[in-house]
């Protein structure tokens, strides 16, 4: 379906679905945090203050402080940039590579399909998170490698989807018409078929974002990738987890809630997008 219909139905679908509106609002908040993080944070996220370590939430520190006396609210806000950044980068790379590989496999079939298929099968043969751990461990502990690892494990998802969507459309009249009209196979694929599969793929991307965030945070949680004192939700949960038993619940709860909120937001957005594009819901 075209972007025109997309735009026209946007107002309708979003207006109808409260949850989607809430999700959009929350996305807005997160983007603002990511963009303006340091400006919004009340305290320097890296500044330690042993005097107020593990202080409960109060007027001075809305989210309390962690074991080194750093303000948790500030750290949560600033971490948005890193978490969202990692997830978005990984998803964008995955999306692009998956689209290219899947579309080629779906359209050309034969050896292309066989090779791409086997590569994807290999990736999917591993428990994905373990594979990500392995990749980061092999390549080295850095944010870039978290992005690469997340990108690789997400690749089959987009690749299979693009392949299926292209396969469905490959036999349609307008594709044959494009060949009749002098387009080469590649031109047909890129100019005629791919624009039509972008909307459903974007839905998938949105749904996938939540997963990508969890993945990046999960890797940091177990100590791979992001190093302290960088503020990042996964690391913060990891650090705060030690203090659950002693009752300082705020140390892990707030970054954890941020993660939950982020995943929830993208899932709701993805559902909203899917409703938008569902032809049966349109009259």
């Amino acid at each position: 379906m075209s972007f025109v219909t997309l735009a026209r139905n946007t107002r309708y679908a979003f207006g109808e679905n409260r949850l989607t509106l809430i999700a959009v609002a929350m996305l807005g908040i997160m983007v603002v945090c990511a963009a303006l993080g340091p400006l919004l944070a009340p305290y320097d996220p890296l500044m330690t203050n042993a005097a107020v370590k593990l202080a409960p939430p109060s007027a001075a520190h809305w989210f309390g402080t962690d074991v080194l006396g750093r303000d948790i609210l500030s750290r949560v806000i600033v971490a948005a940039r890193l978490d969202l950044g990692m997830a978005v980068s990984a998803v964008v790379l995955s999306f692009g590579a998956g689209l290219a590989l899947g579309a080629a496999a779906g359209y050309f079939g034969g050896w292309t399909d066989a090779i791409v298929g086997r590569v994807m099968d290999t990736i999917m043969a591993f428990p994905l998170f373990v594979l990500a751990m392995g990749i980061v461990a092999a390549l080295g502990n850095s944010v870039l490698n978290i992005i690469i690892a997340t990108m690789i494990i997400n690749l089959p998802f987009y690749c299979r989807f693009a392949r299926a969507e292209v396969n469905v459309r490959r036999e349609l009249g307008y594709v044959e018409a494009a060949r009749m009209g002098g387009n080469t196979a590649l031109q047909t694929l890129v100019n005629h078929i791919v624009p039509n599969i972008l909307p459903p793929m974007m839905v998938q991307a949105s749904l996938n974002m939540g997963w990508a965030i969890l993945n990046a945070a999960g890797l940091s949680f177990i100590g791979l990738g992001v190093r302290p004192p960088t503020p990042e939700w996964g690391i913060m949960v990891s650090e705060g987890a030690s203090y659950i038993i002693s009752g300082e619940w705020w140390a892990f709860m707030f970054p954890g809630a941020a993660l939950v909120a982020a995943v929830f937001t993208f899932n709701m957005l993805g559902d909203g997008l899917r409703d938008l594009l569902d032809p049966r819901k349109r009259v």
């Binding site: 307008y174 044959e176 009749m180 009209g181 002098g182 080469t184």
Partner: protein
Amino acid sequence: MRARPRRAMQAPAVTAPLLEARKLAKFYPVKGGARGARLHAVDVVDLVIGQGESVGLVGESGCGKSTMARLLARLVDPTSGAVVLAGRDIAEVSQARFARTPDRARIQVVFQDPTESLNPSFRVFRAVADPLRRLRGLRDASEIEARVRRAAELVGLPVELLQRYPHQLSGGQRARVGIARAVVVEPSLLILDEPTSALDVSVQAVVLKLLAELRDRLGMSYLFVSHDLNVVRLLCSRVAVMYLGKIVEVGPTEALFIDPRHPYTAALVGSIPDPARRGAARPRLDGSPTSPVDPDPRTCRFYSRCAKSIDICNRVMPLLRTVDRDHAAACHLA
């Protein structure tokens, strides 16, 4: 019985051949069958389409008419045989190479389902302009626009619809866009694969009249593939009947309908709903065609369903032979 006079049996006009299929064949390997088993979709067929001629191609589903159309349109490569366009065998180059030659513009196709045959993310203007850019290599925006507008005008499509998307158009309008896209590159041969079967009867009438008018104005030849015999009768001067990959009869339209020489053609014609024959029990063709996989080369393909078959039909495959002026049938009893 009939209140109205019949159309006169036209003497077929002798025209220079535009496109010739010579011993054209398309076999598909069958997976899971006997080793080397092949499906004979089009089984060594000859067909000539003259300049300015409208030829109809009819037959049951699975008879190979769609494959034949796609072979002639050079959308698929034949297994063997030649497709001769104005003296040159265009089947010699692969289909992908052919798409880049200027000859590609000489044969165009109007597809069956107007909804499916238009790209949903293209505006009408772009859909019609694309072949101009690719096939004719036009770059000049004003010239492209002029030609697109002319094509739109030829097919009776209001200019304001050029900026719309397919889902904003009615079925009839989409059909017109499909035709505009095909004629904008000024083809010599237009292959129409069931162009009106998805349309309502009133829209179909409009499209048929448009096709007739275009043919007369632009001098194109048509290959009209359809299962609707009444429509073929309206538009075509010659008709070829296919059965299981072979042409079983070919001749002038009226001759075929009034005096079919092949039992299958007779059965087809006799099956057309006819209000004048209400309540009458008519001979019916029952059963299904035999398998197109490795058919027996010594038997007539129609043998198992033929009411008139005799002994020789099972021993010798009947060849297409002339039975009347410009009229040929592949039957021992024709």
